[in-house]
């Protein structure tokens, strides 16, 4: 694991990529810090972080695109996958290296709240809890990007795929407000979702009847809900979209807040996608 971590870091900082990414991150962070905190006079560094969330849309896809796609393209994954190192360690080694490339500029930006103290006496606790939240947000995004990279051997597809997913989640809070009225739409979306799930169940178990049964049972439940408690369906739909909005929980850190729910959410997302990355590599073996 340490070997993979070191190699990955060296490949980032042996060339331009690592420095460029980190410079970009610090540049945007620094610009917003100057505008919001130094000129705007706010003592909350979290405002700066909140405004620079869009950085992840560019930073993360470029950071993660190579991780597994390049290995597969150059066939170097054969070296890793036939070595005595377990799959979980390979994934963790890569992930920790990516996280390091992300944490370094974040550490530089962590100096900013200290600079603010020149202007006056106040507690920096909320600022550092916001930086912690920002770190978790990045951890989740990087896990998603790494997963996308493990699906393809084409780096362009990896970078565009990650960008598309992150953009969608970035805009999700806006999209969500469009769907607050009308439960019939929610019914349709849930039905499509159910259809996909039933198909997956049917295909994985290789049993048509099981797939049909899941669909019929689920459909009955949905229809009953629609007839009896249509409001519940809309709420559930909106809640579902809420879970997909990865940037929203970070808002809970903005201001004087600290949110356990958000921490759990981000750790779950990161864990889930690390697990899926391992699964996607394992699946490749079986194809």
């Amino acid at each position: 694991m340490i070997a993979i971590y070191k190699r990955e870091l060296k490949s980032f900082y042996g060339g331009m990529m690592g420095y460029l990414l980190d410079a970009f991150f610090i540049l945007v962070g620094g610009l917003y810090f100057t505008a919001v905190n130094l000129q705007g006079g706010y003592s909350y560094f979290s405002y700066t972080l909140y405004n620079t969330c869009f950085v992840f849309l560019i930073f993360v896809p470029v950071l993660t695109m190579r991780s597994f796609a390049e290995e597969r393209h150059n066939k170097t994954d054969q070296l890793l996958l036939t070595s005595p190192v377990s799959l979980g360690r390979i994934v963790m080694g890569k992930y920790l290296a990516l996280m390091t490339v992300f944490v370094l500029p974040l550490a530089v930006l962590s100096v900013c709240p200290l600079l603010l103290r020149i202007g006056g006496e106040f507690s920096n606790l909320s600022n550092y809890s916001a930086i912690f939240g920002y770190f978790l947000l990045g951890a989740a995004c990087i896990a998603i990007g790494m997963f996308v990279s493990s699906l393809t051997e084409n780096q362009i597809i990896a970078v565009l795929g990650t960008f598309a997913i992150l953009l969608l989640t970035y805009l999700m809070s806006g999209i969500r407000t469009l769907f607050t009225t009308g439960s019939s739409l929610a019914l349709i979306v849930f039905t499509v979702l159910l259809l996909v799930i039933s198909l997956l169940v049917g295909l994985n178990s290789k049993s048509l009847s099981l797939g049909c049964m899941v669909f019929v049972l689920g459909g009955a439940v949905l229809l009953a809900l629609f007839k009896l408690k249509s409001a519940a369906l809309t709420t559930a739909f909106s809640g579902l979209l809420g879970y997909l909005s990865i940037f929203d929980p970070f808002q809970n850190f903005v201001g004087d807040l600290f949110s356990i729910t958000s921490i759990v959410y981000y750790l779950s997302v990161a864990g889930l996608f690390l697990f899926l990355t391992g699964q996607s590599l394992e699946k490749r073996r079986w194809n």
Binding site: K75, T82, S83, W286
Partner: protein, 333 residues
């Protein structure tokens, strides 16, 4: 050392390998021989754990490749068809990385890197970037990587492809040298290479094991059979008809006509000498024989016969091969 049992790999409806079983003993050099697409790389990828078989088991040094993957892979050094090299590293860094993956300690790594580089002759390239090296050197760096950690088994997929003749000889010598201390499995579609290097040959064709044995055994299997190279004046049809009319004659392997002369290659059953009958028959039919020579079938011919499914001779040959396999399996048990 390695036990492969009933290995099958299916891609959709296509079987890359089907019901492949063989055993690899310690301290020998094995050659997987077969035409392109016969399933050599697939077999090697399964043994090394890069891909999984649809069914069947592989045991390396007593460790099942699925149940104890790390222990099994720790025994293996693998050089795939395309060497898995990181272009932005130097050979020294690469070997260090390969050693780290194998879990070697730092001091042992440093010492072995030097040894492996000397052995593969890449010491003078140690600090250049791999992307600037020639194909021959890249191949050797890949081989050096497979040697890191002194694995018990070294698996090489087409180790000499794309190298110039001098490099091919160098690599072969290295492989023979490795065979003294390691178990080596290499694959090749070049017969002479396998013949020159290997103690045991496994011929794979269409995903099946068609023959197995030492190079000598394999050529002996057909040593009873000889072929006659015959040239006679006359048209192809005429000569052919006359030759086929001779009693006890075997199959005509090759035939072509040039300037009114016909050349044939005819198989002769073991223990027979039909030269006199043949020339008499041809002379009687007005086709004087201008050349006649006996030839023992080489391993090359066996290989061609075994791997060409549509060849009738190949079909005949598969039976003794299968019988041999059964015998070998019996002795194993």
């Amino acid at each position: 050392m390695i036990k492969v049992e009933h290995l099958t790999k299916r891609y959709g409806n296509h079987y890359a390998i089907e019901d492949l079983s063989f055993t690899v003993e310690e301290g020998k050099i094995y050659g997987l021989l077969g035409p392109n697409g016969a399933g050599k790389s697939t077999t090697m990828n399964i043994i090394t754990g890069y891909i999984s078989a649809t069914s069947g088991t592989v045991t390396v040094d007593g460790h099942d490749i699925l149940e104890e993957p790390s222990a099994a892979r720790a025994c293996i050094g693998y050089l795939p068809e395309i060497p898995p090299l990181y272009m932005d590293m130097t050979p020294r860094e690469y070997l260090n990385f390969a050693g780290e993956l194998k879990g070697m300690k730092k001091a042992a790594r440093k010492e072995q890197i030097q040894r492996v580089m000397d052995r593969t002759g890449i010491a003078e390239m140690a600090d250049r970037l791999i992307k600037h090296l020639s194909k021959g050197y890249k191949q050797r760096v890949g081989l050096a990587g497979a040697l890191m950690g002194s694995p018990k088994v070294i698996i090489l997929d087409e180790p000499t492809v794309g190298l110039d003749p001098a490099q091919v000889i160098g690599i072969r010598e290295l492989i023979r040298d490795l065979g003294k201390t390691h178990t080596v499995i290499l694959s090749s579609h070049i017969l002479s290479e396998v013949q020159a290097v290997c103690d045991q040959v496994l011929i794979i064709s269409g995903g099946h094991l068609t023959a197995q044995g030492t190079p000598e055994e394999l050529s002996q299997r057909l040593s009873g059979k000889t072929a006659l190279n015959l040239t006679a004046l006359g048209s192809l049809e005429k000569v052919r008809a006359v030759v086929e009319g001779v009693e006890k004659i075997g199959e005509i392997l090759e035939a072509h006509e040039e300037n009114g002369e016909t050349s044939l290659k005819v198989e002769i059953p073991s223990g027979q000498d039909l030269r006199a009958e043949l020339s008499a028959a041809l002379a009687g039919a007005g086709c004087p024989v201008t050349a006649l020579a006996t030839e023992t079938l080489s391993l090359e011919d066996i290989f061609l016969q075994l791997t060409e499914g549509e060849n009738a001779a190949g079909q005949q040959e598969e039976e003794p091969a299968a019988a041999d396999q059964e015998q070998e399996e019996e002795t194993k048990e």
